[in-house]
Amino acid sequence: MALFTTLDDLAQQVADEALIVLPPDYSNVPVAAVMALIRRGVKDLHLLFAPIGGIAGDLLIGAGCVKTLEAAAITMGEAGLAPRFSEAVQTNTIAMLDSTCPAIHTALQASEKGVPFMPLRGLIGSDVLKNRADWQVIVDPFDKNDGPIVLLPAIQPDIALIHAPLADRDGNVWIGKRRELMTMAHAAKTTFVTVEEIQDDNLLENDLTAAGTLPDMYVGAIAEAEKGCWPLGLAGRYPADTAAIMDYVEQASSQVGFEEWLKIYGAPR
């Protein structure tokens, strides 16, 4: 597999039924890659957000690509509820694994460390816990008086799918302080990256950029995608296109409106 590829070829490499992890809306969401996945017609994804999703999740759900969704929330932020997500859950057309933010971070960290589980405080008495047959509650073996504690099984995604401002020709990717992308990449079997641009200088050889660089050993494919987060923003590069997001929420309130939106904005750019 060539490390450097095109957006649509990258999407071709995502298998049906794959467990894909996507970043939260504030963190380098690869919307252009999501559009390419929809064009490729990917099916039955197990989609995980680390830990909350927005338009990327709504798009994949609306396009019928998702079988199972795991997230702490799906929200369009100030623009309101996520329309395709809400309808899909209400009509039971996707399986929803409701979680809570730190549980997803923790389950990814478990995979990052190669351990089968990790503990997490809280959760006891919540219906989040009650509905997760895959989670366990034990008594803290170090202190029997410490009360019950939840153990979360590791989640190992097949693919972490992220966007970044910059990669270098060696396949290193600059993510800056968006370290959830680092955890996602470490936890996943491989990471597919779309980038605004590719530079010649090696990111690891400069102390300033090295601090925010995902090393190439975790990266399986890189494709250029200018404004690859649109209509979401990319910190330090471009702001979110709030009008476009508002417009999406309105149009996608019906499946017909969603499909029309997708016809216009989901085409290759």
């Binding site: 504030y26 509820l81 997500f85 409701d98 405080r121 219906d127 989040v128 302080k177 680092m182």
Partner: protein, 246 residues
């Protein structure tokens, strides 16, 4: 000085933060964010002035270890105040952020539990903020417990509900009694109106004062210095709240 409802709510939240040391503000929380920015500005020359950590944008966001740092930091006990809301909230301060109806087949699905199922347990002072004060929101029992208001003895729980701010009133939560108590009624509203619009029982003291409105000084600070700061994270909110008042 005149003020609108949103400014009043921001200042009511602010009044609850005056002893806070480190306030964290989660996603989609412009009111709490504004209130915390306000108190931070007011206490900036104090040695123990309010420290604020906001996620959801780059502004006022000190975190450099990814999305997990807010939660790790809270688990370490470094954050003493946080905010949660609820599609439904009941009299034991259980909150539901997931949806109404018989889960998993919700009648109306909302975003999800976010970090509530964790933060409610570990942050000492959680302020519930839910402007809409109706029986649709304040129910006898929530349909889905995103995070429980109270826990059995023996459950590790340094944190929990502290207060509830709505468009009608301020309530404080009594952890021993596991009940809310009405603290003050917002100007123009009555105890009876609050009872009519609340689906659960709560304690009502003999005399219930009126919630104090914002001082002119605080309002001025909010409109001049805080609104551009909060606009960095919530531009739509600022355009809506402050456009007619500045």
């Amino acid at each position: 000085m005149n003020y609108n409802q949103d400014e009043f709510l921001i200042c009511t939240i602010a009044s609850l933060l005056e002893t806070s040391r480190h306030v964290a503000v989660g996603m989609a929380s412009p009111f709490p964010g504004s209130a915390a920015l306000l108190v931070r500005e007011e206490t900036k020359n104090q040695i123990d002035g309010l420290r604020l950590s906001m996620i959801g944008g780059d502004a006022n966001n000190p975190f450099t270890d990814g999305g997990r740092e807010l939660f790790d930091c809270s688990g370490q006990g470094r954050i003493d105040t946080f905010f949660l809301g609820g599609v439904q909230i009941d009299g034991q301060a259980n909150i539901n952020l997931v949806g109404t109806g018989d889960y998993p087949k919700t009648d109306r699905r909302f975003p999800g539990s976010f970090g509530s199922a964790y933060m409610y347990f570990v942050v000492p002072k959680v302020i519930l903020f839910r402007p809409e004060h109706t029986r649709r929101v304040f129910v006898p029992e929530v349909d889905f417990i995103s995070a429980p208001g109270t826990s059995e003895d023996g459950v590790y729980r340094p944190g929990g509900p502290h207060a509830l701010v709505t468009e009608l009133c301020l309530m404080m939560f009594n952890r021993e009694r596991k009940r809310f108590q009405l603290t003050s009624v917002h100007p123009g509203h009555t105890v009876e109106e609050i009872q009519d619009n609340t689906g659960f029982d709560f304690d009502i003291p003999e005399t219930v004062p009126e919630t104090l409105g914002p001082t002119d000084q605080r309002l001025r600070l909010l409109r001049t210095q805080i609104s551009p700061e909060i606009a960095k994270t919530y531009p739509e909110f600022v355009a809506r709240v402050f456009e007619t008042t500045v």
